[in-house]
Every structure is written in structure tokens, then in C-alpha cells.
């Protein structure tokens, strides 16, 4: 059902809109004055915009795969989460893809990708993968939504307003909820859940391979990078799902449906991926640091002990060690702490991506030296704008589509009921919620 939001909703929407507007303003300034105001120098051909692109496309992947895996393993507790995870995937792939625009020098010419592609360029495959994946996430979000649209129209009635009722009617394509229809829907969602995993893996692998265009740029052509990207994406993606769930739970009074239990289970997934990423980080650095090939060593030295070391170790401590500890210790394994860990991960993994892009990009392959990289108010504003666009779009989206997958929750309940002969607490509240869109108790 679509919930009426709490009072803080409009305040939050207002703030986020302001930040997005600032980002757009900065982008216009950059269009007017050239890329130099965005921090471009002759020593750093790529920078923070590419890092934003990877970060945001990456988190999208987490949402899609979490939802897919939970569906495939038939995890019963997933029901109130999948919609939010899928929506996060859609919103972030959209914002992420847009993030490439401030990076290119002639954005108006980007349509050339379609009418004069050079198939030997990794960028063409990149954009193809992202478009395919973006479309798939959209379908993956939309299909399970259909029965809920009908449901929402029924329960909300005239209260929903003309616009929403019309939208729901158009988008539900004459869904009746018959046996054949349900069967078809189940099969297609199941199929999509299987397909979206290799698709998401391919997107992030191709993204990593786009950095392997030159064997002389250290670090970028490590063979580990594709899986490294994939795991980073999953890890930060799960963290973002936790953040979106926390935000939407608060804004739309979902506390009765999404409980600490959900956060704890998501945090287990988080910890598994975090441990894997920690291992890959060691695997990424150890051989290169050991053989000490000059170019690799210059970059690794800057990262591990040199000028970038504070940032690098911040990522290791705040982005990996701390979250792992929080999940490991029963004392901190609670909603508040888990959300804090997720926030740390999202921030530090953006920093990690900046390091991954900037350090090899500022390496001069003739002189073997590193040049400094600078942020400017323009590049910072565009980055903040892009980041703010994610929660903003989520908040707006869930004014128009039901935030919980009512039908799915009911199905899971039915199954659980058949097995155990009784529903859980969620089971009772769901019926209540179907009648009263605003739960009486909202803490």
C-alpha cells in the first residue's frame, strides 16, 4: 500500500531538492567555463566524476542482486524488503548513468555512441551493458508491482487522488489476479531474478575492464579488478539498501513491518561481503607491492604510506574493519549501529573509488611520477547533487507506488501459515494495514 508520509518528509524532500539544484547549477557553470572549473588539469585526465559513476552504478547492483538472491533462495523474511531494494536499484542505475555526463567534454555528442560506435572500445560495451541492465532492473521492479497496483487502487479508493488512480490503472494492464496470471508472473519474476545476477556481474566487470585500456597505467590493468569491482559494488549496494530501508521505514511509518530482524539479516550479508572485500584488497596489493615493478610501486606507495595513505586507511578502518566489528559483536548488532555502519561504508567506498580512479590517472607514464589532484566547489557540488538525487527520487517514487509488496507478503504468510499453522506478527498487522493506510502506532 502507499502510505502517507510523516511530517519530516517534506522537509527532507526540500533539503534534498536544494542540494540537487546546487549540483545542477554547478554543472551549468562547468558547461559555461569548461572542465577546468570541475578540477580538470593536464595531469589528471579522469577524476571524481568517473568515481561517482562507478560508485552509483555499483550500489545499484547491490539492490538488484540482494533482491534476486533473496527471491531465489526463497527467504521468507525478504517480503517487505524486495520492493525497496529493487527501487533502489532502478533509481541508482538511472542517477549513475547520468553521472557520466559531467565527465565528458562534449555531452551533446553522446548520441554518437549509437550511430557511430567503435566496437573495439570498452566504452561501447560499457554503455551497452548498463543500458541492458538498467532496462532489466526496471522490469524487475515493475513486474512484482503489478498486483500491488491493483490492490492499492482497491484499498486506497478515492483517497489516492485522480493522478495516482489513473497511473495505477494504466500500469496494471488489466491484472485480475487469476491463477494463470499469478503463475505467469511468478515464472517471469523468477526468470528475471536468475537473469539479473549475471547481467549485474557483467556490468561491473565491463566497467572494471574499461580501466584496463593501457598496460602502462599501474593498478588499472590488474586481473583482479573485475571481481574486485563486483564485490565492492555488492558490498556498498547492500549498505545502500540498508540506508534506504531505514530512511523509508521512518518516513512512511513501516516500523511494524520492517523490524530489527530485517536489519540484522541484511547485516549478515553485509559482513560476508565485507570479509570477502578485505581478502580481495590484500590480494590486490600484496603481489604488486612484493615484486615492486616501478609503476605499480609508485602508486602503491602513495596509497599505503604516501600522500593518499590517510584516505586509504580510512577506507580500510571505517569501511571494512568497523562494519565487520559492528556486525560481529552482539552488543552493537542493532538497527542504529547497523545503519551507522552502512553509512560509513557508502561514504568510504566512494572515497575508495576516487582513489582507484585518481591515483593511476595522475601517474605520468613517462616520468614515473604522481601529480596532485584537486577538488573544486563545482566538482564537489555536482557530486553532492548526484548523491542527494538518490534518496530524493526514492522518496518521490514511493508517493506513487506502493512501498510494500502487499501481495507478496500475503503469499509468504500463506505459505508460512500452511506449514506452521499460523502467521507471525507481520501477518496480523498486514491485514490491519490493508484497511488503515496509516498505522496508529508509529514510533
Amino acid at each position: 500500500m502507499t502510505q502517507e508520509p510523516r511530517a519530516g518528509y517534506w522537509l527532507l524532500v526540500g533539503i534534498l531538492t536544494a542540494v540537487v539544484a546546487l549540483g545542477l547549477f554547478a554543472w551549468i557553470i562547468q558547461l559555461r567555463d569548461g572542465k577546468v572549473v570541475g578540477g580538470y588539469t593536464k595531469d589528471s585526465f579522469w577524476g571524481v566524476y568517473i568515481a561517482n559513476f562507478i560508485t552509483i552504478i555499483g550500489v545499484s547492483y547491490g539492490g538488484a542482486v540482494v533482491s534476486a538472491i533473496l527471491r531465489l533462495t526463497g527467504a521468507g523474511w525478504r517480503a517487505p524488503l524486495t520492493r525497496i531494494a529493487e527501487a533502489t536499484a532502478v533509481v541508482t542505475v538511472f542517477v549513475g548513468a547520468l553521472c557520466i555526463i559531467p565527465s565528458v567534454g562534449q555531452p551533446a555528442r553522446m548520441l554518437e555512441f549509437f550511430y557511430r560506435p567503435n566496437l573495439s572500445s570498452p566504452l561501447i560495451w560499457d554503455s551497452l551493458a548498463i543500458l541492458t541492465y538498467g532496462f532489466a532492473t526496471l522490469v524487475f521492479f515493475y513486474l512484482p508491482l503489478i498486483p500491488d497496483l491493483v490492490e492499492a487502487r482497491k484499498t486506497m479508493g478515492a483517497k489516492a487522488g485522480r493522478l495516482r488512480r489513473l497511473l495505477w490503472e494504466k500500469l496494471s494492464w488489466g491484472w485480475q489476479g487469476g491463477k494463470a496470471q499469478r503463475h505467469l508472473l511468478h515464472r517471469s519474476v523468477g526468470l528475471l531474478a536468475i537473469m539479473i545476477i549475471p547481467l549485474a556481474v557483467s556490468v561491473h566487470s565491463v566497467l572494471a575492464w574499461a580501466f584496463a585500456v593501457s598496460s602502462t597505467r599501474p593498478w588499472w590493468s590488474e586481473s583482479l579488478w573485475a571481481p574486485y569491482f563486483v564485490v565492492a559494488a555488492l558490498y556498498s549496494g547492500v549498505a545502500l539498501v540498508i540506508l534506504s530501508v531505514a530512511m523509508l521505514r521512518r518516513m512512511f511509518h513501516l516500523e511494524p513491518f520492517i523490524t530489527e530482524r530485517h536489519f540484522v539479516r541484511l547485516s549478515y550479508i553485509l559482513a560476508t561481503l565485507g570479509a570477502l572485500y578485505l581478502y580481495l584488497t590484500v590480494a590486490d596489493f600484496l603481489p604488486g607491492a612484493y615484486h615492486g615493478q616501478p609503476a605499480t610501486l609508485a602508486v602503491f606507495r602513495a596509497l599505503l604510506v604516501g600522500s593518499y595513505a590517510p584516505w586509504f586507511w580510512l577506507v580500510v578502518v571505517m569501511g571494512l574493519a568497523l562494519p565487520l566489528l559492528i556486525v560481529a559483536m552482539p552488543r552493537t548488532r542493532h538497527t542504529g549501529w547497523i545503519v551507522f555502519a552502512a553509512a560509513c561504508i557508502n561514504v568510504t567506498f566512494w572515497i575508495k573509488r576516487v582513489l582507484m580512479v585518481v591515483v593511476p590517472a595522475t601517474y605520468n607514464t613517462i616520468t614515473g611520477t604522481l601529480a596532485p589532484y584537486h577538488f573544486t566547489w563545482v566538482s564537489v557540488s555536482i557530486t553532492l547533487g548526484a548523491m542527494a538525487a538518490i534518496p530524493l527520487l526514492l522518496l518521490i517514487l514511493f508517493r506513487f507506488v506502493p512501498i510494500l509488496s502487499v501481495t507478496e507478503i500475503e503469499e509468504v504468510e500463506e505459505k508460512a501459515g500452511a506449514v506452521a499453522g499460523g502467521g507471525e506478527a507481520v501477518g496480523k498487522s498486514i491485514t490491519a494495514a490493508a484497511q488503515a493506510p496509516v498505522p496508529a502506532k508509529a514510533s
Binding site: 565528458v104 580501466f211 613517462i366
Partner: protein, 300 residues
């Protein structure tokens, strides 16, 4: 100007520089790759060797005897092309005055931070300082072209790698791919240039277009008319030669003519980063036995 052992030479244009008693010519006349070239067996090199052996190349009874340029001959010369441009930089005479850079920037109306031919001051492993002017290498297998998503970078039949700035989207992937740091992005408005006799094009990219990538073009628009590139004409030391592989003749700004194959062979020519398999069209004559591929920077 920290050249430790400046070669004796006369700067007057009448007496063109003569090679000093540099490294002695190799004993076997058709020496293979100079230096430790034999160990650097690039992908194309390998195929070319196979091709050369398969055809039973007359001169080559041993791989060592494949003349330097023949390694690349297979894909260097396109049938029907009138010229195959190449460049030779005789580092023995370069004193790092950067006159080439200035001449280039003036000719192309470039901003100061775009040094299409950039003079690096480097130190050899033995501690000697030397200067390395770096134009675009006009790679025969250019990585910059392969990665360009929209085909803005292309290679002409005459072996020039050029950018169509009316197509380039400014993604800068080519800058990531170029192993020689030869490319520059126009991050702001280029300096004003007077009206040119013809429209901005890949061979004469004047003025630069903001938001696109530019690089050294070997003054492609001048070459067919027998005019020297700006840097070649501008070098007071006669370091830079522009040559045509089809006629085997190269010339420098002092008007000195050389037979390319012989000159390269006798003076132990090398190419930068041979091991990458990019097959540069720029040959360097190292002055004092320095290994150009293993030097550290003093300033760049």
C-alpha cells in the same frame, strides 16, 4: 642545460651536425632490435617474424638479420599510399631548449599547458641528464584509436593518427590508453586564433575545440606540400627529422638529408616502450648509451 658530455658540433646551418663517435655500428650489418630488443617480443613483432620467415625473406637467414624497419614493414606500408611518414629524433644534439615546443604552440595557437611536443628532462640509470622531446609517436598499432568509442581517432593511409575534433566527445579514454602521454584535453577555451585559410579539420586542428582532445599531428596539413612540421623547422640543433619510409629519406630543419634505414641501423636507433607493441613511427638515436625506457624524471 645539464648535458654532461655535449657532442662537438657546429650550430651553423651550413655545416649540418655530423654524428659524433657514438656507439659503434653493430658488427652484423643488418642488426636486429637494438639494446635488449630480442627479449622484447611484442605481439605484432612475433607475427611479423613468422610472416617474414614464412615468405622466406631474402635477407633473413637468421632472425638477427631482419633489418630494423623490416620488422614493421608488414603493416607499415599500405599499398597505394604515397607516403609513409616517420620521425627520427637524434638525441645526441638535443640540449633541451624547447624551441620545438614553442614553434608548435605558436603554429597551432595552443594554450601554454598543451605541449604537443614535450621536452622531458630525464636522468639515465648511469646518472646522466638528457632531454627527450616527445611528439605523438604515430603508433602503427595505436591504443588510442582502439579505445575511442566513437571513432574520432583514426589512422590515415600514410600512417598518421589524427583526431576529428568535430566528432570527439571528450571522454578522454584515449588519454588513459596512450602510453606516451601524448594527448591533451581542452578543458577551457583555447586561445584565439586568426582566421585560417581552411576550416578546422583533423589535419590542421586550428583552433582547438573546447571539450575535445588534441595532440601532435606532425603538421599533417603541411606535409603533402613539402613543408616541414613546425617543430622540425623550429629546432636550431637539427635534432628532429621528418621522413618518408617509402622513399627511405628523411630531412631535418637544417636541410640535412639521411637514408633512413642506414641511419637507424648505424646509430643504434630505439623506439620508446617497444615492449608494448604499439610500433611507434618515431625513432630515437640515443646519445650516450642511455636506456630510454628505464630513466627517471628530473622534471616533466
Amino acid at each position: 642545460m645539464a648535458t654532461l658530455t655535449p657532442p662537438p658540433h657546429d650550430r651553423g646551418p651550413a655545416a649540418a651536425p655530423q654524428p659524433p663517435a657514438g656507439p659503434p655500428p653493430r658488427p652484423d650489418a643488418g642488426a636486429g632490435l637494438p639494446g635488449d630488443g630480442r627479449k622484447q617480443f611484442g605481439r605484432r613483432t612475433f607475427l611479423s617474424y613468422l610472416g617474414a620467415m614464412g615468405l622466406g625473406a631474402a635477407a633473413a637467414s637468421r632472425i638477427d638479420l631482419v633489418p630494423y624497419r623490416a620488422v614493421d614493414a608488414g603493416h607499415a606500408v599500405k599499398a597505394g599510399a604515397k607516403h609513409q611518414w616517420c620521425m627520427i629524433l637524434d638525441l645526441r644534439y638535443c640540449d633541451g631548449c624547447k624551441a620545438c615546443t614553442a614553434a608548435c604552440q605558436q603554429a597551432h595557437y595552443l594554450p601554454k599547458d598543451q605541449e604537443w611536443i614535450k621536452v622531458y628532462k630525464l636522468q639515465s640509470a648511469a646518472g646522466q641528464t638528457y632531454h627527450l622531446p616527445r611528439p605523438c609517436m604515430m603508433c602503427e598499432d595505436p591504443p588510442c584509436q582502439a579505445v575511442c568509442p566513437v571513432g574520432a581517432t583514426f589512422r590515415t593511409d600514410e600512417g598518421l593518427v589524427l583526431i576529428d575534433q568535430n566528432v570527439c566527445i571528450g571522454c578522454r579514454t584515449c588519454m588513459a590508453a596512450c602510453p606516451y602521454e601524448a594527448r591533451y584535453f581542452n578543458g577551457s577555451k583555447p586561445p584565439p586564433a586568426p582566421r585560417q585559410p581552411f576550416k578546422q579539420n583533423a589535419e590542421w586542428p586550428v583552433p582547438q575545440i573546447e571539450g575535445t582532445v588534441g595532440k601532435c599531428v606532425w603538421c599533417a596539413a603541411r606535409l603533402p606540400h613539402g613543408m616541414l612540421p613546425a617543430c622540425v623547422a623550429g629546432c636550431p640543433m637539427g635534432v628532429i627529422y621528418i621522413g618518408d619510409l617509402t622513399t627511405d629519406v628523411a630531412v631535418n630543419g637544417q636541410g640535412k638529408l639521411i637514408r633512413i634505414a642506414k641511419f637507424l641501423r648505424e646509430n643504434g636507433a630505439v623506439r620508446l616502450k617497444e615492449e608494448l607493441g604499439t610500433h611507434p613511427r618515431v625513432y630515437y638515436i640515443p646519445g650516450y648509451g642511455q636506456d630510454l625506457n628505464a630513466s627517471s624524471a628530473i622534471s616533466g
